[in-house]
Structure formats: C-alpha cells, structure tokens
C-alpha cells in the first residue's frame, strides 16, 4: 500500500445524525491518516457508535460529508463501504462458526475455477493473508467455531483485509478478549499500521488508547469536544473532556448521613463466571449506586443477586440470614425485586393488560386462592399511587409511554413489599417528567426501609441519586465513592484511569 500524500485517508466533515428528532451526533469532524491509529473515546451515549456506523455505511448522515483519499464518497449500505475499502470489526463477530476460516474469509467472493469453487486457491490466499499479518497458529481449513475468541477476531480482520480495506474500524476490540490476548491484538494493530492501514479505534478503556493511538478524538453528547495528539494527552485531561456538564435535573434529597439502617443484603466473596468475587453490603434505607461501563459486570451483579445467572462461589446474607438464590422465583419469594434494563424484552408482557402486568409477580409466586380480590384491589391502589396514566387497567401495556410502563413494573414489585430492590437503568428511554417521578419513588422506597441498588450509565443520575457509589470494571468492584462524588472520579474508576480502590471525592 503506497503511503498517502499528506491528505487524510478518511475525512469526515460536519457529520450530524438525528433519530426521531433526537440529535445524537452534531457537526463532528474527524481525519484519519494512513498508518495512523486514531482513538475515538467518550462515555456511553456520546455518539461513538453512531459515528462508526456512519463511517461503515450502516447509517446515513443527515448532514456533513465523507471523503476517502480526497474523493467524496457516499456509503448507502455496508457493502458500499466494504467496496470502498472501509472494513469494520464489530464487537460481535460476523462469522459463521460452522464454516472454515477460508470459507468465512471468502464468503460471497469465492474464487472460481471452471465454474466451481476453487478450494485450493481459497486456502492458499487465506494462508497468504494470515501469514501477511504474522498469524501462524490458524489454518485456513480450521472451523471458526473451534477457534478462540481472539483468533476469531483475527479471522474478522483477515476477512476485512481480503477486501483490500484501507480503513479499519475496530469497535471495542478488547471487550471480549482475555488479558493475555490483548497483547496479541496490540501486535496485530501495530502490524496493520505498518502496512499503511488507517485504524479508527473505538474504546473507552484509556490504557489501550494510550498504548496504541497516535491521535485521540473525544466525543461528548454527540459533539466533538477536542482532538489531540496522544503524546499531549493525560488520563486526567481526557476524563475531564469526556464528562463535565451542568445538572439539568433535580434529584430528591438523599438520606441523612449515617441514617442507613442494618445490612439487608450482604455479599461476601460472591462470584460466578462473569464476576470476580464481590464483597458488598446494602443497608436498609440507602440507595447504592452502581456505576461502570457497559459490560463491566453491573448487570451481571444484579442478575446474580436475582438468581438469573446465580453466584457460584461465596455467601449471600439477607437480613443476616444466609440464603441461596438459585432462580428468580426464589429471589422473589425472598423479597428481592429486579427492574430490568430491557423493559420490553424482560420486564413486560407487552400484549397483556396493565393489570395483568402489575399482578405478574404475585400470581407467579403466591397460591391462587390467597386473597385474590384483595390483591387486585391492592394493585389497583398501587397503580394509582405511582400515578400510571393509562386509558384503564385493561389497556394493553404496549400502548403506554416508557415512563408509564416503568411505573407499572414498579407497582408490580411494590405489591410484593420487597426488602431489596435492584434497578438496572431505571430511567432509560423515559422522558424527563416521568424520570423525576421514578426518582422520587425510588427514594421513597428507600426511606420506607428497603435497600436499593441502582445501576445507571447516566452519570448525573448515578451521582444525584446515590448515597454511596460503587464503580465496576472488568467484572470486579473497582472502587467505592461517597455521595456527591464527581463525574471525573466515577469515570476515572470506570475506565481504569484511576486505579486505587478508594478515591476521595
């Protein structure tokens, strides 16, 4: 690949994108040069993946232009991007596990000889490509499903190279790798760089960004905050660029310091396949915030407590009594409630009525003859109390707004008078007014003596609501912060920029 003249390989100018009137990307510029690793960083929802999808033809920008080696291009679909030499390595691989490496690499472009697939040529060219990036452990004939995750990633990269990709977009490439595999990826990235390929490296792990990139672009709330040479950047400046905004929403008053009651839920060295042993205490009357990046183990923690993917090691105490929660049913019976992150998929029976949804947990774990009329009355009262706005309790729940749906989920759990409540992104996709109502409800539950664990990716919410914050990283607790900690402190722990386990606010 001849080195480019001075112009960038990929130039994006004034790129913008809105979904349903919500602006997720606004006037973003980005230059990617041949042989450069350009890191794209920002917190969840900053617009990284939208920008990436525009560069790879998945989304069409509403505004702005793309140039490839000085030529304006439009990328109507992913195939056009591939043809133009832009390859993308997704977090989830686009590979067929049942097929061989060569069959995957040449899928859709199988070399032909006399009207038939030329396997020999296919294997030879795959071997060449593998050798070209210094990979000798993978054979073209190997079945992809038998390879390790890191090796599958190599196959993805080779697949992109087989298309003569000049630009390679890597989306959180280390997310699925084990620690010892990361170094191999580093080597691979450097080799690709030497070949003159421009790499757009999307990650929120700052260590990697500093190890690999030459230039960094920081996005926040859909805007480009800054672009700087990695040599000039420090972890602190990056984190400061990634966060820091005014509070636009008021949160209910926190519990008075020292007012938290006895421990309701205690985890000691509790772990499973996705979690390193965790020690955690959740007290009556407090809201414990759990921060961290996506995939850091936050949801895995809630799911483990609720018995979906239960703990395999360690001990769990509920109000001082040892318990073993092996299924959600046992969790519900023990007085644990879980408001899931995926409301439509896991939280609601969309085609059933408001009332049916609100009664779901009770009907599931309590005998049928157990005060049937009374419990319907209670639930109706609760639905009123949380102020669900619906055409009636018989309305199908799919027609309610996100905020009202979430209130129904809350009513369902309130009816069980839970001792421990787990909230996973409780206000995701909910409008501002309903958000405040849900925040109030959460606070009132805690004030009534429940112990609340709240996972949130929204830093203002996490900080505004929590009496204490634990931050997770790579399946373990990275540290704990007191109420009112700064966004920088949370992001520092989440990205690994700050590594101590106790960070003073």
């Amino acid at each position: 690949m001849p080195p480019d003249s001075d112009g960038p390989l990929l130039r994006m100018r004034g790129v913008g994108k809105a979904f349903f009137g919500v602006r997720v990307l606004d006037d973003v510029d980005l230059d990617l040069h041949s042989g450069q690793v350009h890191a794209l960083v920002g917190e969840n929802g900053a617009g990284k993946s939208t920008l990436m999808k525009i560069a790879s033809g998945v989304y069409q920008p509403d505004a702005g232009t793309l140039e490839l080696a000085g030529q304006p291009v439009t990328l109507p679909d992913p195939r056009a991007a591939q043809a133009a030499g832009i390859g993308i390595i997704h977090q989830e691989f686009n590979l067929l596990p049942e097929r061989t490496v060569a069959e995957n690499v040449f899928l859709g472009r199988e070399p032909m000889r006399r009207g038939l697939v030329d396997r020999r040529a296919m294997h030879a060219r795959t071997a060449e490509l593998l050798a070209g990036i210094g990979e000798d452990a993978i054979t073209p004939q190997a079945r992809v499903g038998r390879l390790s995750v890191a090796q599958q990633q190599v196959v993805e990269i080779v697949k992109a190279l087989a298309l003569d990709a000049r630009v390679l977009i890597m989306d959180e490439p280390t997310a699925s790798l084990a620690e010892h595999e990361v170094e191999l990826l580093y080597q691979l990235v450097r080799r690709l760089q030497q070949r003159g390929i421009g790499i757009l490296y999307v990650s929120h792990r700052l260590t990697e960004v500093f190890d690999l990139s030459g230039r960094i672009t920081v996005l926040k709330d859909g805007r480009r905050v800054t672009t700087l040479d990695t040599a000039e950047a420090t972890a602190d400046t990056l984190v400061r660029h990634m966060v820091g905004r005014e509070l636009s929403h008021y949160y209910p008053e926190r519990a008075a310091p020292g007012s938290a009651g006895a421990a309701r839920l205690t985890l000691s060295a509790a772990g499973n396949g996705r979690l390193h042993p965790v020690d955690l205490e959740l007290r009556a009357g407090e809201v414990l915030g759990v921060g961290g990046l996506q995939g850091s183990g936050r949801s895995a923690l809630a799911r483990a407590v609720f018995g979906i993917d239960g703990f395999r090691t360690g001990r769990v105490l509920l109000d001082g009594e040892p318990v073993r929660v092996r299924s959600p049913r046992q969790a519900v019976r023990a007085g644990i409630a879980y408001v899931t992150e995926d409301r439509k998929g896991e939280g609601l029976a969309l085609s059933q009525s408001v009332l049916d949804n609100a009664l779901l947990a009770q009907r599931a774990v309590r005998p049928r003859w157990f005060g049937r009329a009374a419990r319907t009355t209670t639930v109706r009262e609760l639905l009123d109390a949380v102020e669900v706005h619906a055409a009636g309790t018989e309305q199908e729940i799919r027609y309610l707004s996100g905020g009202n749906q979430q209130k129904v989920v809350l009513a369902r759990w309130l009816a069980m008078t839970p001792r421990v409540l787990l909230f996973d992104e409780p206000t995701r996709g909910i409008d501002v007014g309903a958000k405040a109502a849900i925040h109030d409800l959460i606070r009132r539950l805690a004030a009534d003596g429940a112990a609340v664990l709240m996972i949130s990716s929204e830093l203002p919410e996490l900080i505004g609501m929590s009496d204490r914050i634990v931050v997770m990283r790579d399946g373990a607790i990275a540290g704990e912060l007191p109420a009112g900690a700064s966004e920088e402190a949370v992001m520092g722990l989440a990205t690994g920029a700050a590594t101590s386990t106790e960070v003073p606010a």
Partner: protein
C-alpha cells in the same frame, strides 16, 4: 475465564452427527439382523435387501431436497402433495404411451419447479414463515387433488416401469437414482458457489447478506431444487404404481418423514449445519427399522413408537452436544 465446567463433565465420544447416524445404522443392522435371525428370518436375504433399498429410495430422494431446504434455514412441508400431484401429472401425460415418457418427465419437472418457485417467492418476497408458506401451498395442492381425483388416474407404459422394478444385481434402479441425486447435492454443497452461499444463508442470514450473498436468490433456488426432488420421487412412485395416485404422498407421510430423516442425519433444523451424507444415513436407518419390524411382523403401532423414540433420542443427543460446544464458547468469552 475457565472451561473447567465443561471439561470435567462426561465427554461423548468424538463423533460428529454424520458419523453418529452411520454408527447408529450399523448398530441397527447388527441388532435388527440378530433379532430377525432369532425369529427365523433373514434381514440380509436378497428379497428383504431389495425391498429395504426400494423403501429408502423414494423417501431418500425427497429427503435430499429437504436437506437443502433445511440447511438453508428453511423447510418444505408441501413435498408430500407435490409427490401426489406429480405422480398424476406423469401418469396422465404418459397415458400408457411410450412416446409420451419424455414429455411427461418434462411436465413433471416444470410443475414441481413452479411450485418450488412459488414457495421460494412467498418466503423471500412476502416474508411468510417457511412453515406456513409451504404448508399453505401444500394445502392448496391437496384441495386441487381432492376436488379432481377420487382415486388413481392415468397409466404408465411398461417401458417407464423399468425405473420402479429393474435392478442392477441386488440394487434397484431407483436406489441408484437416489444415490445419484444425493451425490449431486453433496457435490453442489461442497464445490459450487451456490452451495457455499446456501450453507452461509442457513448459518446466519445477516452475516451472509453483509458478506454480499444474495440470500433471497439462494432461498428461491433451494426451494426449486427441493420441489424438483419431490417431483422426481413422484415420477418414481408413478412408475412403481403404474398410475398416478392422489394420496400417495400424504399417506406415505413424505413431508414429516423426510424432515425426520434429515434431522436424524444430524442436520440442524435451524440451518447452516449438517449435510447430505447424514441424511442418507438417516434414510437408511429409518428403512432398516421398517424392514426389521416388517420381518418380525410386529404391529405397526409399536413400530411407530420405536421410530419416535429413535428420532427424539437422536435429536436430544445432538442438542446436548451442541449445547456443550456453545457452553465452551461462552466460557471462553467470559
């Protein structure tokens, strides 16, 4: 993090599903042969071998087509009615005349290809679930047959009956035809671009499409081929019966039997994994079970139960194996 969980558990012998079904076939032959011998008969006599292979041939040709459909992530429930219809098309076009054999074959292939095309278009263009689309088309044909025919119709000339009755040594001509169809399908899957694209489409539609495979075309073509196989089976049955029969396909249960044979052969119902070699084993296994029970003269109720148990057991074993592989994969990710 660790694969210990998967490793410490009992390991099944390292057989893939294809060799698994052939091993089961060998076992069935040994066990069945012994049982029949104890009963005073012989499973391996010339006459029982011939009837076994003949039974396998008809189902086998259909099952090869079904394998292609299932591998592509689809399914064809209309095959039984296509068989009935094409047996009638064949016998009525021939009408006992030698000169009409070739036109009749052409007509059968045209009719079955058209039905396959219709199936494929319903599935790809109207996005109707394959189960429903092919069931609907099947019922459509069924309605036409019930309306138009009370019993057998048309007649096949003696020259065409060679297909149903001639043999090369102990091997019926029809079985040779089955072998040829299976070999052609095997070669197609292995060495043509279409074959590669078919397996990719069944494996993951989105991956295939994003890699540049025209998945709609692949699916349509596959349904045409599947239907053509049913048409060939219809020709064979016409030659065997000497006439066209409006209920021969449904009574033979060719729709579900062919799917059972494919699944026994280790092809995954979700598509993308498996192949023709397994299906051939599955067809032979079903034929051997049939043969054994016919010789033992056990009542057909018991026979059906054994077949049911064999199919469910096979699928359970495959599913277990598959789950372990994916567990291991998940463990590698965690």
């Amino acid at each position: 993090m660790s694969t210990d969980g998967a490793r410490t558990r009992l390991r099944l012998p390292a057989l893939d599903a294809t060799s698994g079904v052939w091993a089961a076939l060998a076992l069935a032959l040994m066990l069945g042969g012994t049982l029949v011998a104890l009963d005073g008969g012989s499973l391996f006599s010339e006459s029982s071998t011939i009837s076994l292979l003949q039974r396998a041939a008809g189902l086998g040709i259909v099952a090869v087509g079904q394998t292609m459909a299932i591998l592509a992530g689809s399914l064809d429930l209309s095959v039984a009615y296509v068989i009935s219809l094409t047996s009638l098309v064949a016998a009525e076009t021939m009408a006992g005349s030698d000169g009409m054999v070739l036109p009749a074959i052409a007509a059968v292939l045209a009719v079955s290809a058209a039905i396959g095309l219709l199936n494929g278009l319903l599935i790809t263009k109207l996005r109707i679930n394959a189960f429903i689309a092919t069931l609907g088309v099947g019922l459509l044909i069924k309605g036409y047959l019930e309306q138009g025919y009370a019993g057998p119709a048309g007649s096949v000339p003696t020259s065409f009956q060679h297909l149903g009755y001639d043999r090369i040594g102990p091997v019926p001509l029809s079985f040779v035809l089955f072998a040829a169809v299976a070999a052609a399908a095997w070669f197609t899957l292995r060495s043509t671009r279409y074959g590669h694209h078919l397996i990719a489409t069944g494996g993951d539609l989105d991956v295939a499409r994003l890699s540049g495979v025209r998945t709609d075309r692949v699916l349509i073509r596959t349904h045409v081929i599947c239907s053509l196989c049913a048409g060939i089976a219809g020709l064979y049955l016409a030659s065997r019966l000497g006439a066209g029969a409006p209920r021969v396909g449904a009574e033979g249960g060719y729709d579900l039997e062919s799917i059972a044979a494919v699944v026994l052969g280790g092809t995954v119902l979700a598509g993308g994994r498996g192949g023709v070699a397994g299906t051939v084993g599955g067809v032979l296994l079903l034929a051997v079970i049939d043969g054994v029970f016919n010789q033992l003269e056990v009542d057909s109720f018991f026979k059906q139960m054994v077949r049911g148990v064999v199919i469910v057991a096979a699928v359970a074993v495959y599913a277990l194996r598959l789950r372990r592989t994916s567990d291991r994969r998940k463990a590698a990710v965690a």
